[in-house]
Symmetry: C2
Subunit: 477 residues, 2 copies
């Protein structure tokens, strides 16, 4: 028991210190480890397996919309990065520079990609000649580097893994449709695969991507009421095309500029999974991204037939991601470990269960215990996994709805931001000065101008001038 | 017809100029493109899709042996790279150095990983405490950078994609067993998935990996008789463990050094697929790594019912990777394209075929034409794909056997190397000076000391002193 206590005690409770709870879970669930390379993390097997499940399912969704995967170089020559003015201003201050190759200095220094718009543009400028070459719907899975000063596991690190889609289209309409389509793919993915509900909207000019005409975002709400930008989709119009001279001959043989988009989701989303679903016993994983969905734990495993039965159940559950913990630890310790790692279902099987032709199934999310006849094992397990997946979404939706507030007056707005962690919906005049003032005064940023607009009042919650748009405000990771 | 001729004419024949043929195929089959980042390539959808199929199948084989995937940082601080003496000497001359992060110079420069032994060792030094933590069987899929002076698509580029496995074991025996096991995984993968036979053996000290005790290799023979090192597996003994202080407490509570291995296969293997199987019409892909396995080409597609029938066949063949080419190009052009891209099976379907309830199936590898009843379509297609996969291996095996020679005397050896492209088996005294001399005189290197040893004579083919080992010699990529 002493050992078991130690494992659980090692986590700070989220009510006491949410940031510390997060770090504890990340370490204790063995998702990542710090490395001696400052600001970079080691993604351990339990963490990487989640990323692989994310990759495979998101990639399938991309491919269903016609997207193809490619791979671009990881280096960007300085002159290439500088071609689009806003873009270089946004990224140059935070890139890593390679200055030497082998024993010799480079003629031109190169940065490690912080994002690959410039490389795709450079490629498209040669590869696209005619309207027959369009659309280009390319994506790549890779790592990128941004020289962050302060870092946090998954949420902000100098190197992170992501996918970046880059498309080129004949018309502005097509580019806009693709930008929205991919945002919807992200939102669907979050809801259906990760059980995370999101708010969809457009970023203000201040918050949009460097070089984009419009940035769309999905914003999720963490358990502590802070927002996490979880995926973005950008419409570049023909801005990059003009900077990189990406033109095609249309059917009428006129040279025209292409219209482009890009969209990305990163390992950051694993941070969202932790902070939306986790509890004081550790990680809680949605079944669809749980590397192990079922842990079978034999009780009194030295008794005759118990380990054999556990192995038999594992065999029968082969359609799922299932393991048996037959180590020499105590059952209680094994329960704690299974809970810490967020494994959705625990199956307990002991001599008495075997005699009664049953097992005990415990849900990780609710801790509900069920006695299940072994005759119905496969069917019940599937049902319970589906229920967990759906219930986790429902709970997260309730949390989002219960922590989204409306504020009409400045006093109201200030009070809500100060006292109620969550999103605050309020009207905005459209002026960046008000955004700046709100950030400075309350530490809150505009998360998005939601697609589902409401009219709360006629005046900006900050300056009192006529309001243009409803904005979701919040404190963010 | 003019267009069709153009497509085919654009390839140099392999008999005329093998190197140019290779480059032509790579470009025309749209596998890669050169980029404006010197020495780096863009892997296009047709090339990346092959890599994805390689990844998925090789990764499954790794996981079946207990391997787990992780992700390590892409940067290596200089002091870390320098910890193992032979290793740094081998790699330091060919790495890319990052000297600035954001706007500031780094306190210590870092290289972009050329391989990640040092990072894994650094991690293991903290992560491994007890015999209970062993073995560690980790792998990562990533890109690495080596500052090559001359580059060729897939075969040698400054950045390439690969996997690198890194394991740590309690004993020397276990490490040796894992080194051999992974070499066998590579050899099996090449034979079963890529239809490429390989020679398995050990590298000489001169050719082994920087820092390894022993390097095992699989060597494949290209169509032009040159060798390609296709995968390597290294046993490090406890050399890295001593340099990095990776110790564990054994059951008897004694501190002991771990024994380590590493093993890798890269995008280079795509070069092997091209050069083992390709012909003068382009790429020939083994069905198991063909992104498209079947191309259905409608004949007289404007006639009523043809496109509908083609779509129906595609639907019926949904268990395979199948496409319909219903573009407005001529059938002949479509045939050329399908051949250029190496798609294993072409299904032709026109009005007469429909009337006769049949289709024409053409094998890419042999160009054999078969009339197949539509009633048997799925079964026949599966059969033909299996046959292609097996026949391609058989032909490659015959080519390997037919281009492997034995030489007993120096004169024989010289003559064979000069006149007969392929492997030359010959005895060697074990002295690096002879290897050096052979390389200088004939441009041939020791490919490996094969596991299947033979005794051809008592004396070294170079110096005439007593021979120790049989070596496969060859000119290599």
């Amino acid at each position: 028991m002493a050992d078991e206590k130690k494992l659980v005690e090692a986590i700070t409770s989220m009510e006491e210190d949410f940031a510390q709870w997060y770090t504890d879970v990340v370490k204790k669930a063995e998702l990542i480890d710090y490395s001696n390379v400052k600001g970079c993390m080691v993604i351990k097997p339990a963490g990487y397996a989640i990323w692989e499940l994310i990759q495979r399912q998101l990639d399938d969704m991309f491919k269903q919309t016609g997207v193809e995967n490619v791979y671009m170089p990881m280096f960007i020559p300085e002159s290439l990065l500088e071609k689009e003015k806003e873009h270089v201003e946004g990224f140059a201050p935070e890139v890593a520079w390679v200055t030497h190759g082998g024993l010799e200095p480079l003629q031109e220094r190169m940065c490690v990609r912080p994002t690959s718009e410039t490389l795709f543009c450079d490629f498209y400028a040669n590869d696209i000649q005619s309207y027959r070459d369009l659309p280009k719907l390319y994506n790549q899975w890779c790592s990128v580097v941004r020289w962050e000063k302060t870092t946090r596991p998954f949420l902000r690190s100098r190197e992170f893994l992501w996918q970046e889609g880059h498309t080129a289209h004949a018309t502005a309409q097509e580019a806009e449709a693709r930008t929205e389509q991919m945002l919807n793919v992200y939102a669907d993915f979050c809801e259906k695969v990760l059980s995370i509900p999101v708010v969809k909207g457009r970023k203000t000019d201040k918050e949009k991507f460097a070089g984009a005409e419009a940035t769309y975002t999905i914003e999720a709400l963490m358990h502590d009421g802070k927002a996490l930008q979880s995926g973005t989709s950008h419409n570049f119009g023909d801005g990059f095309a003009r900077a990189f001279e990406i033109q095609y001959a249309d059917k009428d043989n006129q040279l025209k500029y292409v219209h482009q988009t890009s969209w990305g989701m990163s390992t950051r989303i694993i941070g969202a999974i932790i902070m939306v679903h986790g509890d004081n016993s550790g990680l809680v994983l949605p079944p669809r991204v749980a590397p192990t969905q079922i842990m079978i734990i034999p009780i009194q495993q030295k008794k005759e037939g118990v380990l054999e039965k556990a192995a038999e159940l594992k065999e029968r559950l082969g359609a799922f991601r299932v393991k048996v913990d037959d180590s020499d630890k105590s059952p209680g310790w094994k329960f704690s470990e299974q809970e810490m790692r967020g494994i959705p279902i625990r199956v307990e099987i002991g001599p008495k269960d075997i005699e009664a032709n049953q097992c005990v199934i415990v849900r990780r999310d609710t801790r509900e215990k069920m006695i299940v006849s072994l005759d119905e094992l496969e069917i019940q397990v599937q049902k319970i996994l589906d229920t967990i997946q759906a219930d986790m979404l429902k709970r997260a939706q309730d949390h989002l709805a219960g922590h989204t507030y409306s504020a009409v007056t400045t006093v109201d707005f200030e009070k809500t931001l100060a006292e109620k962690p969550g999103f605050v919906k309020a009207m905005w005049c459209g002026d960046a000065a008000c955004e700046e003032a709100i950030k400075e005064k309350y530490g809150a940023t505009s998360r998005c101008m939601p697609f589902e607009q409401e009219h709360l009042s006629d005046t900006c919650v900050c300056c009192g001038k006529p309001a243009k748009t409803l904005v979701y405000w919040g404190k963010a990771y």
